[in-house]
């Protein structure tokens, strides 16, 4: 049923229908509306979950880790500083192969303090073993939660997932969203079936320490599991499409890429603006297309390479910066295209909530065509003086 609703509320509705048994979360802007909505569902018994009001994000994810190991489907949500505080637990959840699903309402990291959007927070956890899915709009943000549980809990994957949607830009925006019924969600997402759990009748030890003669093999297996998601995610997407018509089977998505000369690469809500800008540019005769990255982890290098094989230049829009290096998406794209002659230009854009408009996208395309890249787009020179 199509409903005009706030992004956070649509996400909370989807999460509730995934039937999490334990929810642990801590308030932080711009994520808070999600966990407030879930608390309300618990208070009114519309969902059957234990809701732990923890004293920090660190404990939120730690509680999820424990509950997941004990055999429950779990959920948390956070952003920015909260995610940074979870850093240690994030690596633990992945290392212990616990299929936690967590929403990230993407926000910049301090200092300086900023509550506004970029994607530095989740990007900074790229090496943690969490799968990372990025939503373009609130429909996708909502639907990706169903997929995330399916992929994370798949016994050939067993890794936690971030569902990333841009803070404020999506989380606080009202859009029409097709809200699935509980019966529909139940048809897609089966009850949680833990691979193993803490159980007095079958005692096992979780989280042992590994000496140098075992550690590397653990890391290898986690890496293999993450790469396994490259095939599990599309399958989950196809099944979703068969049931509900919306197709998320692509790890990447191409927009007007046929005969494109310049390809823009982006993740998240920026893709919507880019698509509109491309329509205008195409009307003006410019051959421009978009490659949207849906899964940043695992990174779909093969799909990226294939999609970009025919273009003359690539312009990557990075809402993050690996300080002292480049934008994280550009680094991945350059790696995927290694050996080809296609120039990849990186544009650090929209950090800390700096607005990105259609005219900015058009300007980026022009810069790329002029061969000017690897720069921060839209710096205010008067501030730097």
């Amino acid at each position: 049923m199509l409903q005009i609703t706030e992004g956070s509320l649509a996400v909370a509705d989807a999460v509730g229908k995934c039937r999490p048994q334990v929810i642990a979360a801590y308030p932080i802007t711009p994520q808070t509306h999600i966990v407030e909505a879930l608390a309300e569902m618990v208070a009114n018994c519309t969902i059957d979950a234990e809701y732990i009001t923890v004293e920090s994000e660190f404990s939120a994810l730690s509680a999820c880790l424990g509950a997941s190991a004990a055999g429950s489907r779990v959920y948390s949500a956070t952003t920015s500083q909260g995610l940074a505080l979870m850093f240690e637990v994030c690596f633990n959840c992945a290392g212990m192969r616990l299929p936690v699903v967590m929403t990230i309402a993407n926000r910049a990291l301090g200092a300086p303090l900023s509550i506004w959007n970029d994607q530095q927070d989740s990007i900074s956890l790229r090496d943690s073993g969490w799968l990372q899915f990025y939503a373009e709009d609130n429909q996708e943000a909502t639907d990706l939660h169903y997929l995330a549980y399916r992929v994370s809990e798949d016994h050939s994957v067993l890794l936690p997932s971030f569902v990333c949607f841009d803070g404020f830009i999506l989380s606080h925006t009202y859009e029409p969203v097709d809200i699935l019924s509980q019966e529909e969600v139940d048809r897609y997402l089966p009850r949680f079936r833990p691979f193993q759990r803490l159980d007095a009748d079958d005692p096992i030890s979780f989280g042992l320490f590994a000496a140098p003669d075992y550690y590397m093999e653990f890391r290898y297996e986690i890496d293999q599991a993450a790469k396994k998601a490259l095939s599990v995610f599309p399958k989950a997407g196809r099944e979703f499409a068969e049931l509900f018509g919306r197709d998320y089977s692509g790890l990447v998505e191409s927009y007007r890429m046929e005969d494109a000369d310049c390809a823009l690469v982006a993740m998240g809500s920026l893709c919507g603006t880019v698509k509109d800008a491309i329509d205008d540019l195409r009307d003006a005769g410019r051959k421009v297309g978009l490659l949207k990255i849906r899964t940043f982890r695992p990174f779909p290098a093969e799909e990226v390479k294939k999609a970009l094989s025919g273009v003359s230049r690539v312009a990557v829009l990075d809402k993050n910066i690996s300080l002292g290096s480049k934008g994280a998406v550009a680094l991945e794209v350059k790696d995927a295209l290694y050996g080809s002659q296609i120039p990849v230009h990186d544009y650090i854009i929209g950090l800390g909530g700096r607005d990105v408009q259609k005219k900015d996208i058009a300007r980026v395309v022009t810069l790329a065509e002029e061969g000017k890249g690897d720069l921060y787009y839209g710096l205010r020179e008067e501030v730097l003086k």
Partner: protein, 298 residues
């Protein structure tokens, strides 16, 4: 031990030092708690010596995540078990570094929220796993590698943090101190804690031969001396009120201090009467506060 036979849920063959007080605490704790117990361990000596992959000494379900989050992990397990209608008891266990210092945020949160679990701190009074650094539980004047005695230092500058009182102030229904030198008492307290609804706390004194500097066969004797000098008091608090105290005919603190290398600087090159008097004053204060003195009839 006359109450409950050792049930072997904490298996032999682990890597603890001979005479390790923490290993005794683990064994006694499981003897009392029984097989329907889920253990949530913090990082530390006990975790490392009992679970080198692919081996484990634990014959009950056991989980270790991080140094400082066992209380939060336990919160999640308790919530999960409640949702599943399962009846296992949850016991979080951590050393004094994990409990007094780095994990106190998670511990405070879990106690304030009132989860039904028991937290056991095996208190060996320093960070032993990393090589004997001071913690908030290190006693006054103990020499550690980060509070070494030197020409202008007598060792650790502060007395122990009163963590049991802090947790009692959270409204914990049951808080107790114990010692591995008194096994039946410790086991009774474990049983009481796990059968009391709500968050319960036991701080068990676990002498560390390596860190404190005494021979491994003296662990129990050292533990007893701590009690007999009044530097460690075994007591129970129910709903914030002290209900039971182990009384002793007190010995001078010197008897305890002189046995341990961590206090050797108080005796060599010459006896430091001033500092020993300060430690005696701490014991006297304990004796007065808890009324531990047995007055011998003449």
């Amino acid at each position: 031990m006359n109450d409950k036979a050792a049930c072997g849920l904490f298996d032999s063959g682990h890597r603890a030092c001979g005479g390790c007080g923490a290993a005794m605490a683990a064994r006694l704790m499981l003897d009392a708690a029984g097989k329907d117990t889920i253990i949530v361990s913090s990082t530390g000596c006990m975790e490392v010596f009992s679970t080198p992959y692919p081996e484990t000494a634990w014959k009950v379900p056991w989980i270790h995540s991080l140094f400082e989050n066992n209380s939060a992990v336990a919160s999640g397990i308790v919530a999960s078990l409640a949702k599943q209608g399962r009846k296992e008891k949850v016991v979080a266990i951590g050393g004094d570094g994990a409990t007094f210092d780095i994990g106190i945020l998670c511990l405070s949160g879990a106690f304030e929220r009132g989860h039904d679990f028991t937290y056991i701190c095996y208190d060996n009074e320093a960070y032993m796993n990393t090589g004997i650094q001071r913690s908030g539980a290190t006693p006054y004047d103990a020499s550690t590698t980060t509070s070494p005695a030197g020409s202008c230092s007598f060792g650790n500058k502060r007395p122990k943090k009163d963590l049991p009182l802090i947790l009692a102030a959270h409204g914990a229904p049951y808080v107790a101190t114990a010692s591995i030198a008194y096994p039946p008492d410790f086991k009774k307290k474990v049983e009481k804690a796990i059968n009391t609804p709500g968050p319960c706390y036991i701080q068990v004194h676990a002498p560390c031969c390596t860190g404190w500097g005494f021979e491994g066969e003296k662990t129990i004797a050292i533990g007893k001396l701590a009690i007999e000098t009044g530097l460690w008091v075994n007591y129970e608090m129910e709903n914030g009120v002290v209900t039971k105290v182990k009384k002793v005919v007190r010995k001078p603190v010197e008897d305890y201090l002189i046995e341990q290398k961590r206090f050797r600087h108080l005796f060599k090159p010459k006896k430091n009467e001033t500092e020993i008097a300060k430690i005696q004053a701490l014991a006297d204060r304990n004796a007065e506060k808890f009324g531990i003195d047995i007055t011998l009839k003449k």
